[in-house]
């Protein structure tokens, strides 16, 4: 993994590839790599859909090795949704395969002059870029089937659906899973629109003939990985809770805690929570012959995902994640798992972010476009997004755009990006992360739900403002580092509680790269990534006034605890003072 592939889509005479060594980007992976390249090379004031923007795709520092959980792929660019820097990551197979092909990053630059649509094949013998207009407006599942037909069964795909081609703000980039289904998405920030603007429909990867990446010290590496896996298996969340119930186990606890945004953030608990909870979902999956315990990539030992079958026992979609069950479920007043699973499938197939899409439909329901709880209307709306009708184009623009078009005041976004499944008034630590993350509202950027609700990594009362700044700061730093390793963020549950598991991760990084990596080094990496991202945003015109939640969170009390978001502005401004 010692080279960077650059593809200039705007080159006269057609797309042109160059391969270089890592140069100044040596030592970076995942989010550190994408953010370093974007911060260094993309003019911050460029239009996100213009030729000057770059789409950077990077496996993590440990991807492609035998390290468990190392399959996250980072995709970065200037975001059309937020106008700031973006890194969105996903599981699936591509990170491992890209790393084994030897690429630390693919950088897609420029913009084709015409309207041809391209597919890119990367394998051990090189890169082939071909215009293929038969792929235009193809849905992700059909597209992957066609690529398999053309390039064989051993490929994996990174692709966009119609939403990306239409350059919608909510457009995602799909990554195929172990069964070659396009179910794992770099969802956030409209990265799919940037890929669409580059005229790239699919990147097909085939690592046939390429070995697993060899660490510098294979013996130490194997030993560290063994201890790491033991630590994950030992911790009750990563060893039992997540495999059994998946991420949707959070529905009940968030609703019980009064922090479950319901009816577009109008209240903090949902009467229908039990009907769509992780417990109910896992039971239904088993009853229908689906699998509630399934990894999203080879080497995943937590296996928080699963498969969802329809009433007739046929595969419909992967097990919908908590965020999706919330956004399309409780946030819209919908308590029907079959409807939510259908929405999950449609989102994956069209290629849109499930969080942004559900939040947008919530805003549309508040505007009276449909009634809260109307699942059929929600399904019809997502179909319109895929068809690109006028309404579909507005909804595909995301919650902030839809809120402006429909004249809605209660629009839950920060930096233009929709909030996920935790109300910041009743989970104040996550509110600090939403407000201050360079990514816009993003729970994964500093998941304070751990200490606020789940009592992992300590306890900070979610209903009080005390301690939330420090909690969010530490988690944002740690996350920026973990996102650079290719590791799934769920390893955090174990490494926050078990020092020996954190040490095994450090040992693995050290043995992989032949250098000594300490806890301080990891913290420095995290700070470095955040500093690069914040510097880019500052040059793109962001100020401290963008590090704020929408006003209604300070003025409208949230039931049942009757709380507002009351972390002081001056405290938000010191999150990044380290």
């Amino acid at each position: 993994m010692d080279k960077i592939l650059r593809i200039d889509m705007g080159s006269s005479g057609g797309p042109k590839c160059t391969v270089s060594d890592l140069g100044g980007y040596a030592g970076f992976g995942g989010r550190a790599m994408t953010s370093a390249i974007v911060a260094q090379e993309v003019p911050p004031l460029c239009h996100p859909l213009g030729a000057e923007n770059k789409l950077v795709i990077a496996p993590g520092l440990l991807s492609g090795t035998i390290a468990a959980m190392s399959g996250r792929l980072s995709i970065g660019c200037k975001s059309p949704l937020t106008g700031g820097i973006k890194e969105s990551n996903a599981g699936g197979q591509p990170a491992q395969v890209l790393a084994r092909l030897g690429y630390a990053a693919i950088v897609i630059e420029g913009k084709p002059a015409g309207d041809d649509l391209y597919k890119i094949l990367i394998h051990k013998d090189g890169v082939a870029i071909t215009a293929d207009n038969s792929l235009k407006m193809m849905l992700n599942y059909d597209l992957v089937a066609k690529m398999k037909q053309e390039f064989g069964e051993k490929i994996c795909c990174i692709s966009i659906g119609p939403a990306g081609e239409m350059k919608m703000n909510a457009a995602s980039i799909a990554c195929t899973d172990m069964e070659q289904r396009p179910t794992r998405h770099c969802g956030r920030g409209g990265v799919g629109a940037v890929m669409g603007a580059k005229g790239v429909k699919a990147i097909v990867l085939d690592d046939t003939g390429m070995p697993v990446r060899t660490p510098r010290d294979p013996e130490k590496f194997r030993d560290a990985n063994k201890r790491f896996v033991e630590g994950l298996m030992k911790h009750p969340v990563t060893g039992q809770g997540l495999p059994t119930y998946g991420t949707n186990v959070l529905t009940n606890i968030m609703s019980e805690a009064g922090g479950y945004p319901t009816f577009n953030f109008q209240q903090g608990s949902f009467d229908g929570a039990s009907k769509i909870s992780g417990e109910t979902l896992a039971e239904l999956e088993k009853k229908r012959g689906a699998n509630p315990t399934h990894g999203c990539h080879r080497g995943c030992v937590i296996r928080c995902s699963g498969t969802y079958n329809d009433k007739n026992g046929n595969f419909l979609t992967k097990q919908p994640e908590y965020e999706t069950v919330w956004s399309h479920g409780g946030n819209c007043g919908i308590d029907d798992l079959d409807a939510i699973a259908m929405l999950d499938f449609l989102d994956d197939n069209i290629g849109v972010d499930t969080i942004e899409m559900g939040a947008t439909i919530g805003v549309a329901m508040e505007a009276g476009i449909a009634k809260f709880g109307d699942a059929e209307a929600a399904i019809a709306m997502v179909k319109e997004v895929g068809q690109g009708t006028y309404l579909g184009r507005i909804l595909g623009g995301g919650a902030a755009v839809a809120g402006k078009v429909f004249g809605v005041e209660r629009v839950p976004v920060v930096k233009g990006q929709a909030m996920p499944a935790y109300d910041p008034r009743a989970v104040k630590g996550i509110g600090v992360t939403y407000a201050t993350s360079p990514m816009g509202a993003d729970h994964t950027a500093g998941y304070a739900v751990t200490a606020n609700i789940l009592k992992v990594g300590g306890y900070v009362d979610p209903l009080k403002s005390d301690g939330q700044i420090e909690l969010s700061r530490d988690l944002q730093i740690a996350t920026a580092a973990v996102d650079s390793t290719g590791m799934c963020i769920f390893i955090a549950f174990a490494i926050l509680d078990q020092p020996e598991t954190f040490q095994s991760l450090l040992d693995m990084l050290s043995a992989c790269h032949g250098v000594s990596i300490t806890a301080d080094g990891v913290v420095d990496l995290g700070k470095n990534v955040l500093s690069m991202e914040r510097d880019f945003n500052a040059r793109a015109g962001f100020t401290k006034d963008h590090d704020r939640l929408p006003r209604f969170f300070s003025t409208e009390k949230l039931a049942p605890h009757q709380v507002t978001f009351d972390v002081k502005d001056e405290d938000l401004d010191r999150v990044f003072n380290w």
Binding site: L242, T244, G246, F490
Partner: protein, 74 residues
């Protein structure tokens, strides 16, 4: 006094999802957990009326006690 008890995830196995239990006034969370034969390390997250509580919290008539094993997601 009457306490509404809600159990989640694995704690439901061989027990129940939700029930109204009678207890003497002043009963603590710890006493309720003992009554339900939940091993101490499995009662990881405890809410009384939607607020985090601990084992010593004394319950009052009409309270809702929600108990979760160690869980996470996101």
């Amino acid at each position: 006094m009457k306490i509404t008890v809600k159990l989640f995830a694995t704690l439901r196995t061989d027990r129940f999802e939700q029930d109204v239990l009678h207890a003497e006034s002043g009963t603590s969370v710890q006493q309720m957990i003992d009554m339900l034969t939940i091993p101490p390390d499995e009662a990881a997250i405890i809410f009384v009326n939607g607020r985090h509580a601990d084992l010593r919290t004394a319950l009052s008539d009409g309270d809702t006690l929600s108990i979760f094993p160690p869980i996470g997601g996101g």
